[in-house]
């Protein structure tokens, strides 16, 4: 070190070497750490989990979406998710490269439109059964007090309807509001080309190449 200091190297070169050396050593440490501390993850579970709707409703028989994703990765049926509906089944089937089955009615039916639970408050007897059933903690109330649903938290999973002893819970559709409105995306290209096949008269050559 003293040799280096006393030598005729310009300070600039020394600075370059020191900082470069520092960066090199750090790079080596990080590279070593990346190999040594590599974490084995299961990427397929992550991907499946990101496709599921994350309502954590439990209608598939699992306590949440991630356990169901792990179940699918271990060979479970993919048609047990009513909140996701056919769209989610198709997406999972596309990911796994299998045929998309119909939604299994045993686990519930797909809601046509997004719904939220609504408690008819003058009929509610305050039994708290729906509060215990709610996976999202979206129902507010106490014993012998009227309950109500926090609309923003409700995922419309239906689970509170069943336990209500006086049947005062309705599932109502959520209309499009300024907050939930989305721009309608154009149809994917595949669908458009599929539509073209049903055209009756055209002078364009068919997709197969033969002009009719």
């Amino acid at each position: 070190m003293t040799e280096l200091l006393n030598s005729d190297f310009s300070p600039l070169i020394i600075a370059l070497f020191v900082l470069g050396g520092l960066a090199l050593v750090f790079g080596a440490i990080l590279g070593f750490a990346a190999v040594k501390y590599k974490v084995e993850g299961d990427p397929i579970v992550e991907q499946l989990d990101s496709l599921l709707p994350q309502t954590q409703c439990g209608q598939c028989g699992h306590p949440g979406c991630r356990p169901y994703a792990e179940g699918i990765a271990n060979g479970e049926e993919i048609n047990k998710c009513p909140p996701g509906g056919q769209e989610t089944i198709n997406a999972i089937a596309g990911l796994l490269g299998v045929d998309a089955p119909e939604l299994d009615a045993e686990h519930g039916t797909e809601a046509e439109l997004p719904t939220v639970a609504y408690i008819r408050e003058d009929e509610c007897i305050g039994c708290t059964k729906c509060i215990q059933a709610c996976p999202m903690d979206a129902i507010l109330g106490a014993a012998k007090q009227m309950h109500t649903v926090i609309v923003d938290e409700c995922t419309g999973c239906d689970l509170c309807v069943e336990p209500c002893p006086v049947d005062c819970i309705d599932m109502i559709e959520v209309g499009t509001t300024l907050r939930s409105w989305k721009w309608q995306l154009p149809e994917p290209l595949e669908k458009i080309s599929h539509m073209n096949e049903s055209i009756i008269a055209t002078d364009a050559p068919k997709a197969g190449g033969q002009a009719s």
Partner: protein
Amino acid sequence: MAEFAIILVSTILVNNFVLVQFLGLCPFMGVSNKLETAIGMGGATTFVLTLASICAYLVNTYLLAPFGLEYLRTIAFILVIAVVVQFAKMFIEKTSPLLYRVLGVFLPLITTNCAVLGVALQNTNKAHNFIESTFYGFGAALGFSLVLVLFSALRERLAVADVPEPFQGAAIAMITAGLMSLAFMGFGGLV
């Protein structure tokens, strides 16, 4: 020992990095919506700040000073901090998945937390020795965590408070931060 106690009190209360020196304001405003995340962020910052101030001291004393390269401090410290954070992230992810789940998302954020760089630079400016640097970094991190947790608790209350409409959201948060800063000025002259 009294010397270290003075360093701790001075960094936590008197010269609090966030409210008195105005460093690390980005996570202070950004991660203080919920008490839970604030505690996570505080823990992660404490971990990284202490480690980074140790490493920065070592690099400064044994690498930069012998070659007379103190003017490269800033860039060298940035390098050190980035590497320490990245290494800590990998290490925690492997050894303690639970801790990683608590701190994981916050660790990369700390790389760009200017309080970390501020502590490293002030350590060299004040010519602290190794143990002093460590305590200085640790105290700064404790001070950061303290005000972050206090501020997030205030903001949780503010979320349900009846705030006049023009003041809602970021505006009332800024005002609260300003009032907290004023309150911390009361510690001035304590040490």
